[in-house]
Symmetry: C2
Subunit: 344 residues, 2 copies
């Protein structure tokens, strides 16, 4: 079933069918009615691939990506980019191009966002780290009717927004279950939050809530201490912690970000024993200790997939009007030594 056949059945030209399909002006009520009827009867659906063929060279779909600069502690941000590259490779035949912009703080985020909004991008992908700035961007995007997808972190913004991210509450609950299974009900539990200069990250806060909710929901009363630690590249056992850790009983430690690899060595130095550790992200350092059985579980956020899904989702939205994939709940993937995902 093609536009050509619809045209013949409706006794109009293919141009008119195209006009009706796209709700363009310049079609009489009666003609429109007739064409729509035929479309309905025949169950015709537009061939989106063919529709992109001419446009692929004539009018690109331009997507702007605004991500944290992938260095220092943000090596993680190389991963969503890989997914984006994969999506672009698949879609460049269909005329999709992506420009990447970087930020490293709220000011640079704002500046880059302003620049991007002025250019004529068809869609935007970014990360909601800064509430005020994210709201400003969202509002501008909405005003220009440019679809915007946030990945990685969910944030409560002034208007409804699209998020492709892991449910951090769920992730915390999974961590609770995993540690509970290892440590039991006679153990002590610790939530380690690494703070950066802006305090605790929204994701980490929610992960802790989820962790605590797991035990609450089950009605299990175990001691859960929160350790808020300034974000550095080392971890020290403070005097206070020394007291907490000073027992031979089982200890379950939930590190709410990607830095769980900082713990095993320092625990050895300070002779903290009988620990089970659950952390986030399959990075090189974490993997090292996972393989040595010093970290028990890692939770994977599938960052590559998040990047990939954002571009694919936006493409589907722009070409088919299908907004379903602009909001995704990325599964809480549990990683142990034996099922480490391939880095391809």
């Amino acid at each position: 079933m093609s536009i050509k056949r619809i045209a013949k059945l409706a006794n109009v030209s293919i141009g008119t069918v195209d006009r009706v399909l796209h709700n363009r002006t310049g079609v009489s009520k009666e003609t429109e009615r007739r064409v729509l009827e035929i479309i309905k009867e025949t169950g015709y659906v537009r061939n989106t691939t063919a529709s992109r063929l001419k446009l692929a060279s004539l009018k690109k779909i331009k997507i702007a990506v605004l991500f944290p600069e992938a260095k220092h502690n943000w090596n993680y941000w190389k991963l969503p980019k890989k997914g984006i590259t994969k999506a672009v490779n698949e879609l460049n035949e269909l005329g999709v191009v992506v420009d990447e912009f970087l930020f490293f703080d709220s000011t640079s985020f704002r500046n880059q966002a302003d620049k991007i909004v002025l250019d004529d991008y068809d869609a935007l992908v970014t990360v909601a780290f800064f509430k005020e700035e994210s709201n400003v961007l969202l509002q501008k995007a909405n005003a220009k009717k440019v679809p915007l997808v946030f990945i990685d972190t969910e944030m409560d913004l002034d208007s409804p927004a699209n998020f492709i991210r892991q449910d951090s509450i769920k992730a915390g609950m999974v961590a609770g279950r995993l540690l509970h299974g290892l440590v039991g009900e006679t153990g002590q539990y610790f939530v380690v939050n690494m703070l950066n200069d802006r305090g605790i990250h929204a994701n980490n806060k929610q992960r802790e809530s989820g962790f605590r909710a797991y035990f609450d929901k089950k009605g299990i009363q175990v001691p859960i201490k929160t350790i808020n630690y300034s974000m550095v590249n080392e971890f020290e056992v403070t005097e206070e912690m020394k007291i907490w850790f000073d027992s031979e009983g089982p200890k379950g430690i939930f590190v709410t970000n990607s830095k769980s690899h900082l713990l095993p060595e320092i625990f050895e130095t300070y002779n903290v024993t009988n620990t089970s550790i659950v952390g986030f992200d399959v990075n090189k350092s974490n993997l090292k200790y996972l393989k040595k059985d010093k970290i028990n579980f890692l939770i994977h956020q599938q960052p590559r997939n998040q990047g990939y899904a954002a571009i694919k989702g936006l493409f589907d939205f722009l070409t088919k009007g299908d907004a379903a994939a602009l909001n995704l709940d990325i599964p809480v993937e549990i990683v142990v030594k034996e099922n480490v995902p391939s880095s391809k």
Copy 2:
């Protein structure tokens, strides 16, 4: 960069460029050399979407799928079909059609396979349950140069073959780690294999090997008993098992197929306590007990994804000659109550 531009640069017609691109006959050595050089210099790659446009209506890509009939105990087989349907929906614009055939034993498998091979399919997807019959099919497919992908189960066949499946050894090792974490080194372990009329399934055997390998590799000496049980829809605790289970110590039970849901109730009846269970597949019955905390972990084989990947992989192979995705290692996905994958 288009075929048109290559033609201009090489001073030939687009027809000739097309001939070179497809290694067709009727191009002089010198012309071919020149065209290939330009292609290399310019880094031209064929636009596969455009290349399918005309062919999508003229010459369909016909794929035959031969699967177990999805009834009785084989409800599982609805899932790869869902993935296949999804792939077909995405690719039907590009002229991909799939015909489904069913088998329910080795004879019907052979009959259907024979029928399929006689028809002119461009590619085949099936399951290697029956060694002899699978070998026959593989040989015929190879003779006709029709690509064939087996999903679900890996099997050692006479010629190299394409498999999209979970690594069952790895899956068993993951199960070993999970149960070990829950049960510790003072517990007893049980591997429950459900046998069907052909004895134990290849997958289950490998899962058991992986499970045992986990403990061997770590040098952990724990008692691991194997229970081979005839495949029925119920599970009974036999006299022998009664003796085995008759202790209050922790017991780790690894069910190597999708029937772990048969255990919790019978354990209650027979007063078998302190059990941890790891099973396979996120089916309704298993989910019921997972949610009640009677099953601790389920291993997901991502059957939907297997079906989807088979069709996509074959399409890429047929249109781009890219065989990379015909052999896939589907991750060993660990499922707990809090991260049950959505059934969409």
